[in-house]
C-alpha cells in the first residue's frame, strides 16, 4: 500500500509553488524580451525613415545645386547675348531714335535742315544694310525738296526692306496729313503681303487700325484685305484647327485650383484625382469670362493727338526687331526663360514652346491674330490690338471653350470609389447614403466581432484548465481506489492548475468589452467620415455644375464681340469734329 507522508506533500506543494514562480519569471522575461524586440524593430524603422529623409534631403540639395548652376550660367550667357546684340545691332538704336526725333523736330521747326541732312547721312554711313538709314536720308531730302536725292534714298530703302519702308512712309505721310499718298503706300504694302507668311511687323498695321491711326480709306483697305485673308485661310481646316487648339491650351491654362475645404473626400476616394481634374477643368469658362471682361474693361489709353498716336506706332515699327536680329533675340528669350523658371530648364523649354508661335519670324494671319490675343507682349500688340484680335478670333475661342467643355463632360467618372477602414464602396447613379453607411457599419461590426472572437479561453489557460481537470479525475480515481494520499496530491495539483487557469482567464470579458468599445468608436468615426465625404461629393458636383454653367455665358459674351467696333476712328476723322 502506497503511503504519502505529510512532509512529502509539503515538498510537492513547495515544488509546485516554485514551478509557478519560475513560470511567472519566464513570462516576465518573455515580456521583457518582447519589449526589447519591439524596441529593436522601432529603431530599425526609425533608421530607415531617417535614411529616407536623408536621401530626400540629398536629392533636394542636388536639385537645388543644379538649378543654382543653371541660373548662374543663364545669367552669364544672357549678358553675353545682350552684349552681342548691343555690339552688332546697338547702332540701330541711334537710327531709330533719329526717326521720331526728325519728325518731332519738323513739328517744332527748330532744327536746321542742314543738321538733319548731316546727321541722317552720317548714320547712313554707320549702319550698312539697315533699311531705316536711307529712309531717313530720303525723309530729310523730302523736307528740303531735294527730289533727286529723295528718290535715290527711297529706292535704296525699298531695296533693303520693301515692306517696312512702305509702312514707314505710309505712317509718316499720314502723320503729316498726306492721306492720299499714305493710302497708296499702305495699299502697296498690303497687296504685297502673303497672308500665309506675314512678317512680325504686320502687327504694327493691326495696331494702326485698332488705334485709329490710319485714315478712313486706309483703314478700309486694310480691313477689306484682311477679311479676304481670313476667309481664304479659314478654308484650310488645319490652319483653323491650329488656332482653336492654341486657344484651347491658353484657356486650359486659366484653371482655378480646387477649394482646399475638400479634405475628407480626397482621403477616402481613390477617384479623387479624376474628380479634381474634372472640377478644375470646368473652371476655365469662368476664368476666361473674367479675363475677357478685364481685357475689355474701360477705354484703351490713347492720346487724343493723332501725331502722338502715330509716333507710338512708328516707335513700334522701328523698334520691332529686324529679321537679322532674330537668332540672337531667340537666344536672349531662351536665357531669360531659364532665369524666369529659376534655373529649371525643362519648365523654361515648356514655357518657350507655349509662346513659340509669337516669336516666329513669319506667321500666317490667323496665327498672328491669335498671338496678339494670347501673347500680346511677345507679339508686340497694344491693348487695343489685343481687343481687336480677340474679337476677330472669337469663333476660335468659342470653339476652343466648346472642345474643353466636351472633354470635361465626357470625363465624368461613372463610379466614385470609396475606401476606408478596409471597406470598399462605390457611388454610382443608384447609390444611397444610408445604405452605404449601413454597409460600412456592418463591415466594422464584423471586424470587431472577429477581433472579440480572437480573445478566447484558449492556449495556456485552456491547457492549464484541461490539466487541472485531468488531475481532478485522477484525484477522484485514486480517492475511489482508497489511496487518500494520492487523491489529496492530485486534488492539490488540480486546485493549483485550476487557480492558475482562472488567474489567466480572468481578464477576458474586460478585454472583449474594451475591443467592443473601440469598435463602436471606430464605427462612429468611419461613418462620420463617410457621410462627410459624401457631403463633399455632393458639394463638388454642385460646384462643378455651377462652373460649367458659365460656359453658355462665355459663348454669349464672345458672340457679342464685334471686331470692327475695335478698329477705332482716327481722332481727326470722328463724326462731329
Amino acid at each position: 500500500m502506497n503511503t504519502v507522508n505529510i512532509p512529502q506533500l509539503g515538498e510537492v506543494a513547495r515544488a509546485v509553488e516554485q514551478l509557478r514562480d519560475v513560470q511567472v519569471i519566464v513570462a516576465q522575461r518573455q515580456e521583457a524580451m518582447q519589449v526589447v524586440i519591439d524596441n529593436v524593430a522601432a529603431t530599425g524603422d526609425q533608421t530607415r525613415a531617417e535614411l529616407q529623409a536623408l536621401m530626400a534631403r540629398f536629392d533636394h540639395f542636388a536639385r537645388q545645386e543644379e538649378l543654382r548652376h543653371n541660373l548662374q550660367v543663364a545669367h552669364t550667357e544672357l549678358i553675353e547675348v545682350r552684349q552681342r546684340l548691343e555690339r552688332e545691332f546697338g547702332h540701330f538704336d541711334e537710327v531709330r531714335r533719329l526717326a521720331t526725333g526728325t519728325l518731332q523736330a519738323l513739328d517744332a521747326g527748330i532744327v536746321s535742315r542742314a543738321a538733319m541732312r548731316r546727321l541722317s547721312e552720317e548714320l547712313m554711313l554707320l549702319t550698312p544694310r539697315y533699311w531705316l538709314a536711307p529712309a531717313l536720308v530720303g525723309l530729310a531730302a523730302w523736307v528740303r525738296d531735294d527730289a533727286d536725292l529723295a528718290f535715290r534714298a527711297l529706292a535704296e530703302a525699298v531695296r533693303r526692306d520693301h515692306d517696312k519702308t512702305s509702312l514707314f512712309f505710309a505712317i509718316v505721310l499720314r502723320r503729316n496729313g498726306r492721306d492720299a499718298a499714305a493710302v497708296r503706300w499702305i495699299r502697296q504694302y498690303v497687296v504685297r503681303q502673303d497672308p500665309a507668311r506675314l512678317h512680325r511687323e504686320f502687327v504694327v498695321v493691326l495696331d494702326a487700325v485698332s488705334c485709329g491711326v490710319f485714315g478712313q480709306e486706309a483703314k478700309q483697305v486694310v480691313l477689306a484685305e484682311t477679311a479676304r485673308w481670313v476667309e481664304r485661310l479659314s478654308d484650310d481646316a488645319a490652319v483653323v484647327d491650329r488656332q482653336v487648339d492654341r486657344w484651347a491650351v491658353a484657356l486650359d491654362s486659366l484653371r482655378r485650383p480646387i477649394d482646399p475645404r475638400y479634405q475628407v473626400l480626397p482621403s477616402i476616394s481613390p477617384t479623387w484625382p479624376q474628380l479634381k481634374e474634372l472640377y478644375e477643368g470646368a473652371t476655365v469658362h469662368g476664368s476666361a469670362l473674367e479675363l475677357l471682361r478685364s481685357v475689355f474693361a474701360g477705354a484703351v489709353p490713347l492720346s487724343a493727338d493723332l501725331r502722338e498716336r502715330v509716333d507710338t506706332i512708328l516707335d513700334g515699327l522701328v523698334t520691332n526687331h529686324d529679321a537679322e536680329e532674330a537668332p540672337l533675340r531667340r537666344a536672349e528669350a531662351e536665357k531669360q526663360a531659364v532665369i524666369d523658371a529659376r534655373g529649371d530648364e525643362q519648365a523654361a523649354l515648356a514655357a518657350l514652346r507655349h509662346s513659340d508661335p509669337a516669336r516666329d519670324v513669319t506667321t500666317d494671319f490667323l496665327t498672328m491674330i491669335s498671338n496678339a490675343g494670347i501673347h500680346p507682349e511677345e507679339s508686340g500688340a497694344s491693348p487695343g490690338t489685343r481687343r481687336f484680335a480677340i474679337a476677330a478670333g472669337k469663333d476660335w475661342i468659342t470653339q476652343a471653350a466648346g472642345r474643353l467643355e466636351v472633354r470635361n463632360t465626357t470625363a465624368v467618372p461613372q463610379v466614385v470609389d470609396l475606401v476606408l477602414e478596409g471597406w470598399q464602396g462605390r457611388v454610382d447613379g443608384t447609390a444611397d447614403e444610408d445604405a452605404l453607411a449601413a454597409d460600412l457599419g456592418r463591415h466594422i461590426d464584423a471586424e470587431t466581432e472577429r477581433a472579440v472572437a480572437q480573445v478566447r479561453f484558449v492556449g495556456k489557460p485552456l491547457a492549464l484548465a484541461v490539466s487541472g481537470a485531468l488531475a481532478l479525475v485522477l484525484a477522484l480515481g485514486t480517492a475511489l481506489g482508497g489511496d487518500a494520499g494520492s487523491a489529496i496530491f492530485f486534488l492539490l495539483v488540480a486546485a493549483a492548475l485550476g487557480g492558475w487557469s482562472c488567474l489567466l482567464g480572468r481578464g477576458i470579458p474586460a478585454r472583449r468589452e474594451e475591443l467592443r468599445r473601440q469598435g463602436r468608436e471606430r464605427k462612429a468615426i468611419a461613418v462620420a467620415r463617410l457621410r462627410g465625404g459624401l457631403a463633399e461629393l455632393v458639394d463638388l458636383h454642385r460646384d462643378w455644375q455651377a462652373a460649367l454653367a458659365v460656359a453658355p455665358e462665355l459663348r454669349d459674351h464672345l458672340a457679342g464681340l464685334d471686331s470692327s467696333a475695335f478698329a477705332l476712328n482716327a481722332p481727326d476723322q470722328r463724326r462731329g469734329l
Partner: protein, 153 residues
C-alpha cells in the same frame, strides 16, 4: 493573283466607313460650324421616336437633315449618333446618311463603322446629337450651336 469572287468583300462592314460612302461632292470638304436650324433639330428629335415612323416619314426626315448641309454648301456627315430616349435597354441611335438607315443600339452593343467614337459625347444630356465626319466629330448642343472636335477626336 486570283480576282476576288463576287460577294466576298466585307461590304456590310465598310458601309459606314467614311466619306467615300457619302454622296457629298469632293469639292465640299468644309465642315459646317454654324448654328443648326430649327428644322434640322426638329428632324433629329423626330428620329428618336422613329420606332413608329414609316419609311416615307424617315426619308422626309433624312431629307431635312441633308438639306441642312446642302444649303450651307458643306460636307455631309456620314453618320449621326444621338442619345436614345426610347428607354431601356436602348442607349443611342444612329442615322447612316448614305443609306438612310436608322438603328437603335442597346447598352454595350458597339456601333459600326467609326461611329463608336461619338458615343461618349452622344450619351451626354448636354448634346442633342453628334455628327460623324471622316476626320472629326461635330457636337450639336440642345440650342443648335455646335462644337467641332479636332481631327484627333
Amino acid at each position: 493573283m486570283p480576282r476576288p469572287m463576287l460577294g466576298n468583300t466585307s461590304a456590310t462592314s465598310s458601309r459606314l466607313s467614311g466619306p467615300r460612302a457619302t454622296t457629298a461632292s469632293n469639292a465640299r470638304h468644309r465642315v459646317s460650324t454654324t448654328k443648326r436650324s430649327r428644322e434640322y433639330q426638329d428632324a433629329l428629335r423626330a428620329l428618336d421616336t422613329s420606332g413608329h415612323v414609316g419609311a416615307v416619314d424617315l426619308s422626309r426626315l433624312v431629307d431635312d437633315v441633308r438639306r441642312e448641309f446642302d444649303d450651307a454648301h458643306c460636307t455631309t456627315p456620314f453618320g449621326i449618333v444621338s442619345r436614345c430616349y426610347l428607354g431601356e435597354p436602348y442607349e443611342v441611335h444612329t442615322l447612316a446618311l448614305d443609306h438612310s438607315i436608322l438603328e437603335h443600339y442597346e447598352l454595350g452593343r458597339p456601333l459600326p463603322g467609326g461611329l463608336e467614337r461619338a458615343r461618349p459625347v452622344a450619351v451626354s444630356a448636354v448634346y442633342a446629337a453628334v455628327e460623324v465626319y471622316a476626320d472629326r466629330l461635330v457636337c450639336v448642343r440642345l440650342d443648335g450651336s455646335v462644337v467641332a472636335l479636332g481631327s484627333e477626336a
